[in-house]
Structure formats: structure tokens, C-alpha cells
Amino acid sequence: MAVKVYGTVESACTQRVIACLLEMGVDFELVHVDLDAGEHKRPEFLVHQPFGQVPVIEDGDFRLYESRAIVRYYVAKYADRVPSLMGNNLEERAMVDQWLEVEAHNFNDLIFTLVLQLVILPRMGEPGDLALAHSCEQKLEKVLDVYEQRLSKCNYLAGDSFTLADLSHLPGIRYLMNEANMGHLITERKNVNGWWQDISNRPSWKKLMKLAGY
């Protein structure tokens, strides 16, 4: 039975889960949640995700939310399919975890705030805080300098293989390069750009882009 993924194909967090399921060859069915109509804030939805957010997965009777918990579960569940997505031993796994945490704590907030101020609020007819956006951009420059240095030493964030740590960045960077118009942050950095070209050309990500109609 296919895993049901409740969310939207445009939502960064839903994309994180779909990208992982595509990488692992796990059958899934995307069940669209109408965010514009506030479906995710209704009682029926809150029963499954009390924070009123997407995505949620339903695998038979088993339900999970929080995209990073979901991807970790599936990588562990199907470790025999693509074993290196979480590293091959405990030390490699710790490195993957380290860069997953970097994405969650040093990277994601800045991207989210940028996209909120530059894209989402204007779309809703509200003015974005350009000073805040600029401040995020400056902080992101410093963070990406660290990535540039890291990627001068190895091909991928956690080492020499593509892992969840790289995959987790795909949705956010796509937003940065497209709707937020901040592609220069990536293209100005040789190693970061090379890494982005590599990971965004993976068949699973290209399949997702097609699904999303980009």
C-alpha cells in the first residue's frame, strides 16, 4: 500500500519528504491539502497534526509529522535500498545529523524569513520587511561562506556521498534561486554552486520538479 503524504507539492517541507521517498523508490500518493482555504487549521486536520502544518504521512495505521522526522524514519526503514543516505556507520551518521542540524538551525530560518518577506507577504497584499530581508541575506552570505569552505574539502556536506543532509537543502535553495531572486548567493560561490548543480540534477529532484509543474 502506498504511503499517503498529506501536503502540497509547492510546500518546502512536503517537498523534503517527497524528494526522499522518490530517492528511495517508495510508492506514495500525494493528498493535496488546500492551504489557501485553511484546510490545515481545521479540527479534522489538527487531529493528525496539532500544529496545523504540512506534511503528514500515513503509512497504514502509522502516522508521522515533522518532515525531518519523516525522512529519517524512511531512510532507517529502507536502509537496504539506499544505504548511504544516512551514512554507513555511526560516525558517518553523526556527520549527516550534524549537517541536518545545520540546515535546520543555521540555514532554514534565514531562507524562511527571506521567502516570507520577499514572496509570501507581497503575494498576500502585505508589505514585506525589506530591512529584515536584507539582514537575512547578509547572515546567509556568512553561512554560505562556511558551506563554501566545507565543500572545498568534500563533494557533499557530510562527506563524499549524497545524503539526507544535502537532500534537506533542496527545497529551500530552490526557493532562494527562483521566487526570492537570490540565486547570486549560490552562483557566486564556486563549490556551493557546483554542489547545487549536482544535487538539483538528481533524477528524483527533477521528477519532483515535473510533479510540481516548475
Binding site: P50, E66, R68, A69, R72, L90, R93, A94, E101, A104
Partner: protein, 243 residues
């Protein structure tokens, strides 16, 4: 007497040597670099104590900006943040990656902090993400305004930011209240990293006006009383008064 002289001579040589050699300390394989005032460092220290692991705590002088200097950046954490961690040759940063590593590597020692069963671990993992994505950002903002700003910068809190984040925290805590009415700990029946990760910010917020938000929710309040009384947590906190 003549037969005693070589023996005495040997003993004297031995004593001389013992007086002059440096007894090398057994170097702990595990090192935690950070500050006992830092929530992220405390998260790792609590885990190390729960697992009863031999370790060395290396104090980083944050007021002197040690964590932003070249040596720290190149050796321990290029993002210039604490904690940093070593276990033999393995070097890590990001507190939650460190606690996860410790919980797995030393699964057979001290308190069991994760589940071996994949579905139970997945549920625990959900609440670890909730702490990281829903709770921490709000709690850290409140701790900054109400604790660190006055303490470190002598500045008063921004009341608008405090009010907004108290409101957000109340909503999150309603969800916790609901969860803890069904489950003794966030991940299930046992104390795990999902609970432990909350300890440092909880500790700071308890000393502020935000305490009322926790006290007014009976299941949350009982859970906090339980987890903050754990000996390992108290040991980690004790480092604050030693420095």
C-alpha cells in the same frame, strides 16, 4: 648491612624517579567544549551525565569571544558556536547531532535515551523535531529577551517581542498539555532525548514571568517537575556555580 646497601640504593633511586616523573592523567576520549551558561552546551552535558560517561569539560570563554576566533572556527565549529564535541578522532558540532550520537554509540550505558524499535523511535523523533522547530525558536527568543539581554548586556526586554512570543508559546504548550495528558513523556512511556532537549531553555524560562504559562497547565507542569529533578540534569546545572 652490606647486603642492604644495594636494596636501599635501589629504593632511593626509585623514590627519586617517582618524585620527578609527571604522572600523566588518563585523557578522556570524550571532550565537551562550551559554556555552562549556554543552553546548547547544557543539552550535551545533560546527555553525557545521563549516560554516566567519563569526559572532560573544556570551558570556552565566550565573553572574550573565544568561539569566534580562528582556532575555534578551524578546529571545532566553523559557525563559531558552542558546544563542540570530541570522541577520540570524531569531532562534531550541533548539540542535537551530538546528543543523538551519544545516545546511539553508548546505548548500553546509563539511561536509555532512544528507542530501538523503529516506530517508537519515529514518534520520539517527531517530538524531537517539535522541540527543535516549534518550541525552541520561541523559547530561545524569550530567554534572550528576559534572561540573556539583562544579564549580559544590561538591557531591558523588548515588551512587544515578549508579548508576541508568550502568545505563541501558550499555543504550543496547549499542544504539549494535550500530548502529556495521553503520554507520560513526549515520546512515550520513557524519558528520552525528546524530553531532555527541553531542559536548558525550560530552566531559564522558569526564572522569568513565563513560568506562569507552564504552571497553568497541569500535565506540562508535572512533566517539568519530573524531568528537572533528574540527577544528571542537576549535575549539569551545578557546573554553572563552579565556573
Amino acid at each position: 648491612m652490606d647486603q642492604m646497601r644495594p636494596v636501599v640504593y635501589c629504593l632511593l633511586c626509585l623514590l627519586f624517579v617517582l618524585d620527578h616523573i609527571t604522572i600523566l592523567p588518563i585523557m578522556a576520549a570524550i571532550k565537551v567544549h562550551g559554556s555552562p551558561l549556554s543552553t546548547n552546551t547544557l543539552r550535551v552535558l545533560a546527555t553525557v551525565y545521563e549516560k554516566e560517561l567519563d569526559h572532560e569539560f573544556v570551558l570556552i570563554d565566550m565573553s572574550a569571544g573565544e568561539h569566534k576566533k580562528e582556532h575555534f572556527l578551524s578546529t571545532h565549529n566553523p559557525f563559531g558556536q558552542v558546544p563542540a564535541f570530541e570522541d577520540g578522532d570524531l569531532k562534531l558540532f550541533e548539540s542535537r547531532a551530538i546528543t543523538n550520537y551519544i545516545a546511539c554509540e553508548y546505548a548500553d550505558k546509563g539511561t536509555q535515551l532512544i528507542y530501538q524499535d523503529s516506530k517508537k523511535m519515529a514518534i520520539t523523533s517527531v517530538w524531537m523535531e517539535v522541540e527543535s522547530q516549534q518550541y525552541e525558536q520561541i523559547a530561545a527568543k524569550l530567554a534572550w529577551e528576559l534572561v540573556y539581554k539583562p544579564l549580559l548586556l544590561g538591557m531591558s526586554a523588548d515588551t512587544a517581542i515578549v508579548e508576541e512570543n508568550e502568545h505563541r508559546l501558550a499555543k504550543v504548550l496547549d499542544i504539549y498539555e494535550s500530548r502529556l495528558a495521553q503520554s507520560k513523556y513526549l515520546g512515550g512511556d520513557c524519558f528520552t532525548l525528546a524530553d531532555l532537549h527541553h531542559l536548558p531553555t525550560l530552566h531559564y524560562l522558569f526564572g522569568t514571568q513565563v513560568k506562569k504559562l507552564f504552571d497553568s497547565r497541569p500535565h506540562v507542569s508535572a512533566w517539568i517537575a519530573d524531568i528537572t529533578a533528574r540527577p544528571a540534569w542537576l549535575k549539569a546545572l551545578a557546573l554553572q556555580s563552579q565556573q
